[in-house]
């Protein structure tokens, strides 16, 4: 099949403003991923196309981008998912994720995202002495299940950059940081939950969430992001973790 690929391009050294690059790709297999198409453009048509990717298998989270208006990982998005069954032609539009400064073409500056990530102290805090037998700190399977979903985050930023509240005000910590906070707040072995709740209970914390569900739709790991945010809100309103 033939695909008309429309890519948002921007080179800060040459361009005054972003522009759309149009590329025609023949012999596209519906099972090709959008990343495969971008590789074809870069390797066969225009080597200046800049994008970020690493594992190409949906694990590293490097290639989050806006594909046909919705955030997704380019490596996990198959052409077949974007076209009608049996179609011989298709148009696919690819843009950088929104809400973060564009460095070049599809590459954005992730620093503001990671600043929010770091603000929720995304690491294990426990100042109690470890068990005397030298073994690990135990917890019940039920306690482990409480934060199982939020351990799956790969920090691709698809959720945060799909959030209208984040687009409107970049000071909002965003869904990804709240997911990371959730992972530790509800870990029964962690003792830093009060510190984290203070951060996500701030003016630019969970209260900025308007329950739009864009984050849940965008997550390539199918984390129930809005539900995790609701659980943090509940902890903040009831005082119970």
């Amino acid at each position: 099949m033939q695909v008309q690929l429309r890519i948002r391009r921007f080179n800060p050294e040459k361009d005054e403003k972003p522009w759309w690059g149009e590329y025609t790709l023949d012999n596209v297999n519906p099972n090709d991923s959008v990343l495969d198409l971008l590789h074809r453009v870069k390797w066969e048509i225009d080597g200046t196309l800049t994008l970020r990717r690493s594992c190409a298998h949906g694990v590293c989270g490097s290639d989050a981008m806006r594909i046909n208006g919705a955030n997704a990982l380019a490596c996990k998005t198959l052409v077949a998912r974007l076209i009608k069954e049996g179609a011989t032609q298709a148009r696919i539009q690819v843009e950088p994720i929104l809400g973060l400064p564009v460095v070049k073409d599809l590459v954005v500056d992730m620093e503001p995202f990671f600043e929010h990530y770091k603000s929720v102290k995304p690491y294990f805090i426990n100042n109690s002495p470890p068990p005397e037998n030298g073994r690990e700190r135990l917890q019940s399977p039920e306690d482990r299940a409480r934060y199982d979903d939020t351990t799956k985050c790969i920090l691709c930023a698809a959720c945060t950059t799909s959030c209208p509240s984040f687009w409107a005000d970049g000071r909002y910590v965003g869904p990804a940081a709240i997911v990371q906070a959730h992972r530790f707040i509800f870990d029964s072995r962690d003792e830093g939950y009060a510190e984290r709740l203070k951060v996500v209970g701030d003016t630019f914390g969970v209260w900025r969430c308007r329950t739009v569900f864009n984050c849940t739709n965008a997550c390539p790991r199918e984390i129930e992001v809005t539900k995790a945010i609701a659980e943090v809100k509940r902890a903040l309103t009831t005082g119970k973790v």
Binding site: Q139, S140, P141, E142, D143, R144, A145, R146, D148, D149, S165, A168, D169, R171, S188, Y193, A194, L197, K198, G201, D202, T203, G205, W207, R208, R210, E224, K233, A235, L236, T237, G239, K240, V241
Partner: protein, 135 residues
């Protein structure tokens, strides 16, 4: 999500001391007033427009209703909850798009004064309403 096979007794529950936080109070107020409005606003619409025909909804009809303190109280509660719910929603929308803290603080003060003055003014008008003057 991993299935949980045990009982909730195996889940560790911990308490956390919450600090005073205006955003949390505003968030809870929004949810509580929303629930109250589901009863008051939907009830008001049903009574005024379904049980009574909209064509009969005249000043005389309202004056007749406001002979009773029950109806005056109902409408004053509707005024308080609907207006505070709406003003808080407006504050949320504005705070999304206005990033200057000083301007936002000024808007918050204005909205708070506007809310209190309007509720007092309209509440006073309802309380002092004289049905006999309409006849």
């Amino acid at each position: 999500m991993t299935a949980v096979s045990g009982t909730s007794e195996k889940v560790t529950r911990r308490a956390v001391q919450l600090e005073a936080n205006f955003e949390r109070i505003a968030y809870l107020g929004m949810r509580m007033s929303g629930i109250v409005l589901l009863v008051l606003a939907v009830g008001h619409m049903m009574i005024q427009h379904v049980l009574n025909s909209s064509t009969n909804l005249t000043i005389q009809f309202v004056a007749e209703q406001w002979r009773s303190w029950g109806w005056k109280s109902y409408d004053m509660l509707l005024l308080i909850f609907a207006f505070s719910h709406g003003i808080n929603g407006l504050r949320n929308v504005l705070s999304d798009y206005i990033h200057n803290d000083k301007i936002m603080k000024g808007i918050n003060v204005f909205l708070a004064v506007f809310l209190v003055v309007t509720i007092l003014w309209a509440g006073f008008a309802i309380a002092r309403f004289d049905p006999a003057a309409i006849q």
